[in-house]
């Protein structure tokens, strides 16, 4: 046991709390406690009940049964205002900020300081500076929030809670939107906060992060607390087992495989983003059948625009894209799809799905217009139903029925719908952009194995990911993208994590 020398007092306790939603027992007799000054990680897959528990603590829901005890007193929390008054602050996964307002304006929003009938910006800015200095947050109160990078926007959210004197801060999936460097900064800030007596509940499903920063770890599954452990006494495999409820293979099982002929050829491709800046600059590479070609890089180095230019969602400004011998430069998405592309898009809710459509309709989103789904311009519901039923089973989509709207599914199941739709077609090339972002262990494992299956079947796979581990586990060759250019291409077996990390950070290299 690595107990701290002085036993810290319990600042928040959840005792036997249950919450029933129609059809699901989202919290089932949950016990949970948070000690003063600790980082307590709450680990679980999507739908395990982490968010429900936090919503109960934050006053967005009321428990059916059980008590929430704050500072050794039973708290009756009816709304976020009550929880804020009790010193609880929450940083949501999707930020609650107004981009055109300054940091100070955002922070005071809902709790404005007024002097002689107008906002006292100076006083608020002074307090933000004070908080910023105290916790090493490095935030300029007069900056416009929309101009700040995501990592800093998140700090503004943290400042918001501290400004309201929060002693307990709930961070909901805080690293989902961050680059590895930004995540490191966040962890440092979390430690600074706890060192000054703030207690943190850290919600995540990333095992590594939990082991790196948490003082204690509580694992939830299907609305129940499975166990609370110390990081020193556990490892990734054990945590994954608790999360998923079965053995999980954390490494990808991948045999050597001969690559065949060139399927995707990209020559001197350039593209501009919305702001008309050239974010893809003279990129050339090729992907052969039967290989996974990974593009590594810190987010925002042109990967989004590159994949959009390749899939027809964005017009390239120059260069040439050839798929299976056909010149498809600047062609619309349908031509490229018909040439044999399967596209797993970066933003599954924006591009990959129509959330208010049923799974059935989403399963045919790219093929709805051709037989057997359409005959003479009329949709054939039977063919759609059969297709959906087959794919739901084959790709293990967890849903009560095929009529459920895609928006009602968990992130992992939404992604499975896209993967099922795209990989079940006869394709020559798969472009997968961030295919496992924000997903749980079970789904990641599944999607990785599907990608490898495609490769083993002789399909060319272009994998774009900001997760270096994912790139290294799946790819046969790796390209590193930095500021819109491919700065290196290497065989996976001839490189190391450190080497790739250096290239990703922009260390100058000769292209191998």
């Amino acid at each position: 046991m690595t107990e701290k020398t002085t036993t810290p007092k319990v600042i928040l306790e959840v005792k036997g709390v249950s919450k029933q939603f129609p059809g699901v027992l989202a919290s089932d007799n949950v016990n949970f406690d948070l000690r003063e000054g600790e980082i307590h990680a709450l680990l679980g897959e999507n739908g395990a009940g982490k968010s429900t528990l936090m919503n109960l603590i934050y006053g967005l829901h009321r428990p059916d049964k059980g008590d929430i005890i704050v500072n050794e007193k039973i708290a009756s929390i009816h709304s976020p205002n009550d929880s804020i008054a009790l010193g609880i602050g929450m940083v949501h996964q999707h930020f609650m900020l107004i981009p055109v307002f300054t940091v100070a304006e955002n922070v005071m929003l809902g709790d404005e300081t007024v002097k002689r009938g107008s906002l006292d910006r100076a006083a608020v800015a002074a307090r933000i500076n004070e908080i910023s200095k105290q916790y090493g947050l490095d935030i300029d109160p007069n900056a416009i929030v929309g101009d700040l990078p995501v990592g800093l926007q998140q700090r503004v959210e943290i400042v918001k809670t501290l400004y309201r004197h929060a002693k307990i801060v709930i961070l909901d999936e805080p690293t989902a939107v961050l680059t590895p460097q930004e995540a490191e900064d966040l962890f440092r800030i979390m430690h600074d906060l706890t060192a000054r007596g703030v207690s943190i509940i850290f919600i995540t499903h990333k095992l590594k992060e939990v082991l790196a920063v948490a003082d204690r770890i509580t694992v939830m599954r299907a609305g129940r607390v499975i166990n609370t452990v110390n990081p020193a006494e556990t490892d990734s495999a054990q945590l994954a087992n608790m999360m998923v409820g079965r053995q999980v293979i954390l490494t990808v099982d991948k045999q050597d495989h001969e690559a065949t002929e060139e399927i995707l050829k990209v020559e001197g491709l350039s593209a501009r983003d919305q702001r008309d800046l050239e974010t893809v600059h003279n990129v050339s590479f090729s992907v052969r059948g039967g290989e996974v070609f990974g593009i590594a890089g810190v987010q925002g180095n042109g990967q989004t625009e590159l994949s959009e230019a390749l899939t027809g969602l964005r017009h390239p400004t120059s260069g040439k894209v050839t798929i299976a011998g056909k010149d498809l430069t600047g062609k619309p998405p349908r031509s490229i799809t018909e040439a044999g592309l399967a596209h797993i898009p970066e933003d599954r809710q924006r591009h990959g799905l129509v959330l208010s459509y049923s799974i059935t309709d989403n399963m045919a989103l790219c093929d709805y217009y051709r037989p057997p789904f359409s005959q003479h311009g009329v949709i054939q519901p039977k063919a759609l139903d059969e297709n959906a039923r087959k794919l739901i089973q084959a790709f293990d989509v967890r849903t009560p029925s095929a009529f459920v709207n895609a928006g009602k599914l968990s992130g992992g199941n939404q992604q499975k719908v896209i993967v099922a739709r795209e990989l079940s077609r006869p394709v020559k090339l798969v472009i997968a952009n961030q295919p496992t972002r924000g997903l749980d262990v079970g789904s990641i494992e599944y999607i990785h194995s599907e990608i490898i299956k495609m490769r083993d079947r002789g399909v060319a796979v272009l994998l774009i990911s900001a997760e270096l581990d994912e790139i290294m586990a799946l790819s046969d060759r790796i390209a590193v993208m930095y500021r819109g250019q491919i700065v290196a291409v290497v065989e996976t077996k001839n490189t190391t994590r450190e080497q790739l990390g250096l290239w990703m950070a922009g260390a100058h290299v000769e292209t191998a």
């Binding site: 998405p333 349908r334 591009h351 129509v354 208010s356 790219c366 949709i379």
Partner: protein
């Protein structure tokens, strides 16, 4: 056995979705009627007598039913026009103008074509031609807005409003000028009567209800089929719900926007044509004032579903038609009806009020009618 079970659950599902969709509009109407009754009381009227008059006037006799159907006909067409655009993610405020364009061209074909040709046409050619011309011109008028939206990003709300001004003022110019009824006694801005061969036959002798009403019901059924059962309908709905996903799925988003506006305008144009060929036998300035705008209310109340539009059209038609009888019985002004309609709409649009009053939990996502300027 298995399939029977499945079809049972299918029927159950359909019924459930209907009752869910209709719940808010139904409660909105109920609430509006109650509040309307209170207001009638406050101004010293008798709400029971007023509502009795309303029902008698709209459904109390064969003639009342006929007149309600007459009112409902343009409402159904124009309501479908707005509803179809909503489904495609577009807010067509221009039904009023498209309707006027359709009416003008229908009337023109109706009275002038035999003159131009120098001989009379049989009804089975002349009538369809008049209707079709009105429909098509209404569609072309609206598709201009579709082009502007798709290729320049010009927002359809602004452009349909502007196009309304152009259409209505041009109509006024034409009806006061070259298209004016030249008969010596006429002082009104109206076209001459259309030829007999361009008129719709009546269904029942002595009643004004015409075949246009039957056509409206068929067109509603067709639009439902188009939206839900065809490839084009799938494209329209996908673009309406998520244009990014539509583009990803290979749908030509720009073309779909233009087609949606074209179809929407055709429906509005049809509303105008049918009024000319089925009811008035001419186009007269000001006959349609309000149809195109009421159509927005009808599409909202009907939740943009063709069946909902038909039902909402009936409600609005019954209220308009029964108003006269109500006024006769209670001396309450007809404007009360506008107030009732406004209350219904208020509660449908601000459904949170209804949900609060009747303690209904919000379910699923909210209806997104149109997106912001960037959309």
């Amino acid at each position: 056995m298995q399939s029977e079970k499945q079809s049972n659950s299918l029927i159950k599902r359909i019924l459930q979705s209907i009752s869910e969709a209709a719940l808010i509009p139904f409660l909105a109407i109920l609430t509006a009627v109650v509040i309307g009754g209170i207001i009638i009381l406050l101004v010293g009227g008798d709400p029971i007598r007023a509502y009795t008059g309303l029902i008698q006037g709209s459904m109390g006799s064969r003639k009342a039913w006929s007149e309600t159907a007459v009112w409902a006909t343009p409402y159904i067409f124009a309501g479908l026009a707005v509803a179809l655009a909503f489904k495609g993610g577009l807010f067509n405020i221009g039904a009023e103008g498209q309707l006027a364009v359709g009416a003008v061209f229908s009337a023109l074909i109706g009275y002038a074509l035999p003159e131009w040709l120098g001989f009379d046409l049989p009804v089975y050619i002349h009538l369809p031609l008049a209707i079709f011309t009105g429909m098509l011109t209404g569609g072309i008028w609206a598709s201009i807005v579709g082009f502007l939206k798709a290729y320049t990003g010009g927002h359809e709300v602004i452009n349909t409003i502007m196009m309304n001004y152009i259409a209505l003022n041009t109509t006024s110019y034409l009806l006061n000028g070259v298209m004016k009824d030249k008969s010596p006694t006429n002082v009104i801005a109206r076209t001459p009567l259309i030829a007999e061969s361009a008129r719709m036959p009546e269904i029942f002798e002595g009643l004004r209800v015409h075949w246009g009403f039957v056509l409206a019901l068929f067109v509603a059924l067709f639009i439902w089929w188009l939206l839900n059962k065809t490839t084009l309908g799938f494209e329209i709905r996908t673009v309406g719900l998520n244009p990014d996903a539509a583009k990803y799925a290979g749908i030509n988003v720009k073309r779909t926007i233009v087609i949606t506006m074209l179809f929407s305008g055709m429906l509005a144009g049809l509303a105008g044509s049918i009024e000319v060929t089925g009811l008035n036998y001419r186009h007269e300035l000001g006959f349609s004032i309000g149809y195109g705008l009421d159509a927005i209310a009808i599409a909202l109340l009907g939740k943009s579903h063709p069946l909902g539009v038909v039902l909402a059209s009936f409600l609005f038609a019954a209220m308009r038609n029964g108003a006269t009888r109500m006024q006769f019985l209670t001396q309450l002004p007809v404007d009360l009806i506008s107030m009732l309609q406004a209350l219904i709409l208020l509660f449908v649009a601000a459904d949170a009020i209804i949900r609060y009053i009747y303690r209904i939990k919000a379910k699923g996502e909210r209806v997104v009618l149109t997106r912001g300027w960037g959309g």
